[in-house]
Symmetry: C2
Subunit: 429 residues, 2 copies
């Protein structure tokens, strides 16, 4: 059955956008005033402010604080129609996409593919259930559950070695997410949880950050990597560079010949792209990203755009990084190029404007890279807070996040220490 | 294996409290200054402010806003030890309780049983998966998921009858929870969601409240029941009294001979008590509550107390209702009577102080029953808001709930419209 979309009376060109993240949403918004109908499809009902996801995982924010319904964001854009559904097939010849279980088909004039990615487990998919990643609110809730449960288990554990294993948290990958997770935990263990337990000393929690490369935050300049490593170590994080994980088990992690006893492993390494990109017949890079043209369309199909984490974009001589500002800019560019095409104008190649990079490490600790201007410390941290509040969508989210942050800042507590889901038996037991 | 609890050096009497709801928590707090060791066991890590649970189900609040870790609440009470675990057995002769899968045993000198209850499906347990109840944060998140999904399904539905079924929400039971749920939905459908959908008119959402008895809010005086029914109908809720549900199916509900086409049924009827009460050998009432003595202990075992929703307490000639203030008072009474017993003093029978009853229906609509003083309307509603904010535990929760309420009040929006979990296929499809 072919599924008829809204706007039945119009014959306006149909732009289908897959994914409501930073890239897809900004593509939709860029088409706000264009004579098109826009259909945005997402697996979830919400846009997720991914840069703050680690704060959900570490019990500082609620999932609702960093999400907003995609419908609500686009409520005033009358040419936009939102579908909650999963894309299971793409046919670039017939210009159709298949939704869910093959019973619904959408025909497009333009396709904007922004499906994002997942973590890569380096050919070890069996590690995923033992070492969850951090891409969705469900991931974050699961990480929070395991993080908080590890202290509960330690408190009840009579065996000293086992107890130490429950009090050891391993984070794999020292990109921004890994560094943010690792940096957030010592503060929580030392301050927020300290008085709550009777048998364990939460200050003895070990946080081990494993990185395969030779420095943390590899996308930053070396001087800031060095500063970040120093900051992490000052917080008590054990940073192990050149450390490739060779095995993940329910009660231990292998790093080369070494063994780390732990029940709590979080994955923040590597990226792999949505399998949808393979359906395009376009050239892919090693991690599955589509090698796009300068205008972000795919070779031979100027009506198909790939943007965000699923696209390999080269700008000048540099590959554009998979960060939120790049995704937003790509969305805007794809949307505008569609509008230009319809207006009979020539497309404009995508140009990445690097506004600078920020990564936070912990209270009063962050690093900032604005090209020639590079710095770290207290000012970088406040800047990070300000920019993240500014970019959050919606007054409500800003206000509740501000309250939670002020609470955490002044009390050293964490507000959302909630274990939900199957709270008694984690998957691994 | 016998599990040794904290305080290994002490020989102080051991009070085990099962359940960290209003009753159990207040029992623990009442023993704050007593020469005992207190062990509180709960299946979850958090105390739940149940009176606001319906606001999580209707997307106004986050689960984290109305929960606080039990450990954190008791962090300054040095004689209290908290265990995250499920009680699976009680032996009143050997004075032991069994935790989880029989591998841990706790020996008590006093036992305070406050396990709460679940909804009763009137000998139809198969209805539970089709018509979830509202007792835990997991329940509330599931209800929210189904509630929000029903609009998503309706928006994509091409069949008119089916679409109407997706836009029909049935609530079973017109006690406070059922009335609060039913009263919250019309506002959301008519205001918060209205601009977000393109194909459906969310204002046409039908809310049907089914009640087996002959009035809503049966625990309130008749005049207020009448007022509440009138308020609900003014909001557009179809109130059907004397309507017993005879069948629940994935796409319909049977009420006697009548059929209601719906995909969304919420259960707020009947209560059934934790199966733990059956292990005591004490007399039970029809719904499984323990018939307790005037001091809330069970016959023949003055060291075992049952309080909260699991207890059938008669005070004067009236059965004490299963409401939060009664549970708090019972907890306090049980705790104090334990302290008195240890001090060689005589126990004081429990006396229920009815501080009054409040139920909210919708914006500016509530009913209040303070004995001779009975009223409804705007003032009752503001009173309800104030009291619920006051009783919430913790500054942070109060502040975030206030923000969410102010946001909802002034914008008519709902802040936490988040579908989490298996978002594409609900259980029933």
């Amino acid at each position: 059955m072919t599924f008829s979309v809204a706007h039945p009376a119009t014959r306006r060109p149909h732009v289908v956008i897959v994914g409501g993240g930073f890239a897809g949403l900004h593509a939709a918004r860029a088409l706000r005033d264009s004579p098109v109908k826009v259909t945005l499809v997402d697996r979830t009902n919400h846009h997720l402010f991914q840069p703050l996801l680690y704060q959900v995982a570490t019990a500082s924010l609620s999932p609702g604080d960093i999400t907003a319904p995609i419908r609500w964001i686009l409520r005033r854009q009358q040419n936009a129609f939102v579908i909650l559904g999963e894309v299971t097939g793409i046919n670039v010849e017939s210009r159709t996409i298949v939704l869910d279980s093959a019973c619904r088909t959408l025909t497009y004039d333009f396709l904007v593919l922004a499906p994002g990615g997942r973590h890569s487990y380096f050919a070890h998919p069996e590690w995923e259930s033992l070492a969850p990643g951090l891409k969705s609110v469900e991931d974050a809730a699961e990480m929070r559950r395991r993080f908080l449960l590890s202290f509960e288990r330690a408190e009840l554990c009579d065996d000293e070695v086992e107890r130490a294993a429950y009090q050891t948290i391993v984070i794999v990958g020292a990109g921004p997410t890994g560094v943010e997770l690792a940096g957030a935990i010592p503060d929580i263990a030392r301050k927020a949880l300290r008085r709550d337990f009777r048998r364990i000393d939460t200050r003895q929690t070990r946080v081990i950050l494993l990185e395969g490369g030779d420095r943390v935050l590899p996308s930053f300049p070396e001087s800031l990597s060095e500063r970040a490593r120093h900051d992490l170590e000052a917080l008590g994080v054990e940073v192990r560079l050149n450390s490739l994980v060779t095995g993940v088990h329910p009660d231990r992690v292998y790093v080369g010949d070494a063994t780390i006893r732990t029940h709590t492993v979080f994955w923040a390494a590597g990226n792999v792209v949505s399998p949808l990109t393979r359906m395009l017949g376009a050239p892919l890079d090693k991690v599955g990203r589509v090698m796009v043209e300068p205008d972000l369309s795919i070779p031979g199909h100027p009506e198909v755009f790939v943007i965000g984490d699923a696209a390999h974009v080269v700008c000048g001589e540099r590959t554009v990084p998979g960060v939120a500002p790049a995704a937003m800019q790509q969305g805007k560019s794809a949307g505008r190029n569609i509008a230009r095409t319809l207006a009979g104008k020539k497309r404009v190649p995508f140009d990445y404007l690097n506004k600078g990079d920020l990564a936070t490490i912990g209270r009063h600790r962050a690093v900032a890279d604005f090209g020639r201007l590079r710095f770290g410390g207290r000012f970088a941290w406040w800047l990070w807070l300000t920019i993240h509040i500014m970019y959050l969508i919606g007054f409500r989210n800003r206000a509740t996040v501000l309250i939670e942050w002020a609470y955490a800042y002044f009390t050293y507590q964490r507000g959302v220490r909630l274990i939900m889901g199957s709270e008694r038996t984690p998957d691994r037991d």
